[in-house]
């Protein structure tokens, strides 16, 4: 069973499955760094998924679809930012409200727009990276994906650079750890957190658009299926380091790919069992190393000047 072709297919599937989780995790990480527990990310993803599909379908351009997904994700994020960062409302309550609302709204729109025709998008064209794609096994699995996949992976060093090598990175860290210090340094805490939440929305929207346009080629209600929540888990486990989000996303991706591979291989085991693997792995990790997972000190607490 462990032929080269199988391994290549498995790895290929893992990357495909990991990308939306990676995008969600990177996005959520940004919010959490800045002190906002963004439970609304699932809603941002599903909005991105619908808008991405809608735009891609009507324009015929995948890239326009991604743009639409990003904008839709940011629109939901804007509501979240206005309510939770601007007004200081409870982040968990609003986050769940937005998730439910946009899951419902997109399902509703799907019903009225697509439920008769169930249109599909053509499969996304892959971009093989010259030379690298010739590497045995790995080449085809890792270097022959639609361009957006490479972009998502490139975002990992990009975010690491942002956190480590820019003033914005310092601002984000301060906004999550001691917002008052950022405030007296003359940086607007609210604006910093707004920017973080909007960026989360962009990432989540792109992740959602990827799910619908590249992953499925079709929008179905609830297509994100908890990917946003997985992003929250990944971000919390990664403790502020983008590369750990990538590692975690790949772990989940491999398990998801195994599910498909097992079905193809005719293994007589319900997919549910394999789907449990990544969660089990994470729980084991939490039991072993979970001691005081270092979350930003001000996570989930609205900033109010002068209040301590």
């Amino acid at each position: 069973m462990l032929t080269e072709a199988f391994l290549a297919a498995l790895l290929y599937g893992a990357v495909t499955a990991a990308v939306p989780l990676l995008l969600a995790g990177l996005g959520e990480q940004m919010s959490e760094k800045a002190g906002v527990l963004n439970i609304g990310i699932e809603g941002m993803m599903i909005a991105g998924a619908f808008a991405g599909f809608f735009v891609a379908y009507h324009s015929g351009s995948l890239w326009a679809g991604f743009g639409g997904g990003i904008l839709a994700g940011m629109a939901v994020a804007l509501v979240m930012a206005l309510l939770c960062v601007g007004l200081g409302l409870n982040q968990i309550v609003i986050g769940i409200g937005l998730t439910l609302g946009f899951e419902g709204l997109t399902a509703l729109m799907h019903h009225f727009l697509f439920s008769r025709t169930y249109p599909r998008l053509p499969a996304a064209e892959a971009l093989a990276i010259p030379l690298l794609d010739r590497i045995p096994v790995l080449g085809g699995a890792l270097f022959n994906h639609p361009p957006v996949v490479y972009l998502a992976v490139l975002a990992v060093p990009g975010m690491a650079f942002l956190y480590r090598r820019t003033q914005l990175g310092l601002n984000l860290q301060a906004a999550g750890d001691r917002p008052a210090a950022l405030d007296v340094a003359g940086v607007d805490v609210t604006a910093t957190r707004f920017a973080a939440v909007l960026t989360t929305g962009a990432f989540a929207g792109l992740g959602g658009a990827y799910l619908a346009c590249v992953g499925a080629g079709i929008f179905v209600p609830f297509v994100t299926n908890g990917a946003g929540f997985m992003g929250i888990v990944l971000a919390m486990l990664a403790r502020g380091r983008p590369v750990w989000v990538l590692a975690g996303a790949m772990l989940f991706g491999i398990c998801l790919a195994l599910t498909t591979a097992a079905q193809v291989a005719g293994v007589n085991l319900p997919t549910d069992v394999i789907q449990m693997l990544p969660f089990l792995a994470v729980m084991v990790m939490l039991v072993l190393f979970g001691r005081r997972a270092s979350l930003p000190a001000a996570l989930g607490i609205p900033y109010e000047r002068g209040a301590r």
């Binding site: 090598r165 820019t166 310092l170 301060a174 750890d177 001691r178 007296v184 002068g306």
Partner: protein, 508 residues
């Protein structure tokens, strides 16, 4: 010293908060090369002035002038750009960033942080003032004194012309305080205008070129440089603050001598270090009936841990005995029933639950106990009657016993805690910074209450970072340093000097 033109002036500044007139027509002028001390009790309106000068809030009326031109300080950023740097009472460093990174906060967001350049500039400025900093250290790993130096440097690095130091000595050792005084001198020598805010008279007189005194939101006097002369000035300031020269006397009456015997015995109390909190090592002392044992030390040297270990909030090694009865195995409830009471300095959040009514807060440590609960069921009438009783006895100013405690003033929250802990049966009472953040009247009332407790034969452990308070109340004073008792001294004429030496780790 010649009088130069003020660089920064407040003219008729008034600021109201709901129910409080925090600043009432304040005039204040800061001049280059001058250390201007703003002296006042808690609640006198000092913090409000700091907040306005640093751009956190705006005055309701009056104006702020910089070099004679009226300005509106719109935001912290604006304050910094005007050359006003502030070192706040509470650390404003991000613990997870390095010193250099902290000082870089505020640069345009798209830039790369110029860590190396910042470190070089820091070194330069620090060397010029005789300070030592380590720019690559994480702020959270620095000592409190080092953190403060980093914050002063932050104000200077931005090219500040005005430096505001808000209660900057509260976390420092006596040596550290002297060092800060010398540093302020050097900075003033370089032409900086310094506003030094404190409630400690001694510091005001020894460091200030000019002293302004605030009382209940109003400026009650200003002593210009030519009139600052040691003891004479002290008397003058006291009169401004308290109305009469003798006002301070009542508060410094010596306590009655303790009775013989050992009411509280602590033997070899120890605790492992955890979450950055210092360990306790072999803490042993005893307190006689009617005795007040002061615990001095710089904040963060194990005082909180000691108090919590005594109260039973932390499981510690060693033994705690009250009147010969070993309470080491008891938790909070058992120790409380045995007469051991603990009043925390964290009054809202730990000592009380802000959203709960006064009535429930008064029985917060007796949840489930009769007569307030029967078979686990709350008896609201009994709880409310008890609450009305205690509220009357301790003169708690509250609209009613159902009012959430978080709506009361700090002094009244303290009274609620006193009313809860000093119910009959108290034998040993542990106070943690009992007057921290209280206004003068409430602080005095609390001091009197502590004396009264001792007079009743109760053993008092008084933990405080305010040396004056300890010297005024205690029979003996133990000094804590690094989780140990560095020494216990009798409260005599030599006490102050010996405590200072013990705090910094020199044998007395």
């Amino acid at each position: 010293m010649t009088t130069t033109a003020p660089i920064l002036a407040l003219k008729g500044i008034t600021k109201r908060f709901p129910g409080v007139l925090a600043n009432d027509r304040i005039d204040l002028a800061l001049r280059p090369g001058e250390v201007h001390v703003l002296l006042g009790e808690n609640g006198a309106g000092k913090s409000t002035i700091v907040a306005m000068l640093s751009g956190l809030i705006q005055p309701d009326s009056g104006r702020i002038e910089i070099e004679g031109r009226p300005v509106t300080i719109r935001s912290p950023r604006h304050a910094l750009s005007l050359g006003i740097g502030t070192v706040f009472q509470h650390s404003m460093l991000v613990p997870s960033l390095t010193v250099a990174e902290n000082l870089l906060l505020g640069a345009p967001w798209w830039r790369r942080p110029a860590r190396r350049e910042m470190a070089a500039r820091l070194g330069e400025i620090a060397a010029g003032l005789g300070m030592a900093v380590r720019p690559e250290m994480r702020a959270g790993d620095l000592s409190l004194g080092e953190q403060q130096q980093a914050e002063i440097l932050r104000a200077l690095v931005r090219g500040g012309r005005v430096l505001i130091l808000d209660e900057s000595t509260s976390m420092l050792t006596p040596d550290g305080i002297a060092e800060l005084g010398a540093l302020m001198r050097r900075m003033a020598g370089q032409g900086l205008a310094i506003l030094f805010i404190t409630h400690k008279l001694g510091e005001a007189v020894s460091f200030g070129d000019r002293i302004s005194v605030l009382k209940l939101g109003r400026k009650v006097g200003e002593i210009p440089p030519e009139r600052i002369r040691g003891e004479e000035t002290v008397g003058e300031v006291l009169e401004m603050m308290f109305g009469a020269r003798t006002a301070g006397a009542a508060d410094t009456a010596p306590p009655a001598p303790p009775r013989p015997g050992r009411r509280l015995v602590v033997e070899g109390l120890s605790l492992p270090a955890r979450d950055g909190a210092p360990a306790l090592e072999g803490i042993s002392f005893d307190v006689a009936p009617g005795e007040i044992l002061g615990i001095a030390g710089i904040d963060g040297n194990g005082q909180r841990e000691l108090a919590e270990a005594l109260a039973g909030q932390r499981r510690a090694g060693g033994r705690v005995l009250v009147d010969g009865r070993d309470l080491s195995a008891q938790g909070v409830g058992g120790r409380r029933r045995a007469g051991l009471r603990y009043l925390t300095d964290d009054r809202l959040g730990e000592g009380t639950v802000g959203a709960f009514p006064v009535s429930l807060n008064l029985v917060l440590k007796e949840v489930g106990a009769p007569p307030f609960w029967r078979a686990g069921l709350e008896r609201r009438a009994v709880i409310d009657a008890h609450a009305r009783d205690r509220v009357r006895a301790f003169d708690v100013r509250t609209p009613g016993v159902a009012t959430p405690v978080g709506r009361l003033s700090g002094g009244n929250i303290q009274k609620v805690i006193l009313a809860r802990e000093l119910v009959p049966g108290a034998r040993v009472v542990v106070f943690s910074k009992p007057t921290y953040g209280l206004d003068l009247a409430n602080a005095r009332a609390t001091h009197q209450r502590i004396r009264d407790l001792a007079a009743q034969g109760i053993a008092v452990v008084l933990i405080s970072t305010d040396l004056e308070e300890l010297l005024a109340l205690s029979h003996r004073i133990a000094v804590m340093s690094g989780g140990r008792i560095a020494g216990i001294v009798a409260n005599d004429a030599e006490a102050r000097a010996r405590i200072g030496r013990l705090m910094v780790g020199v044998a007395a």
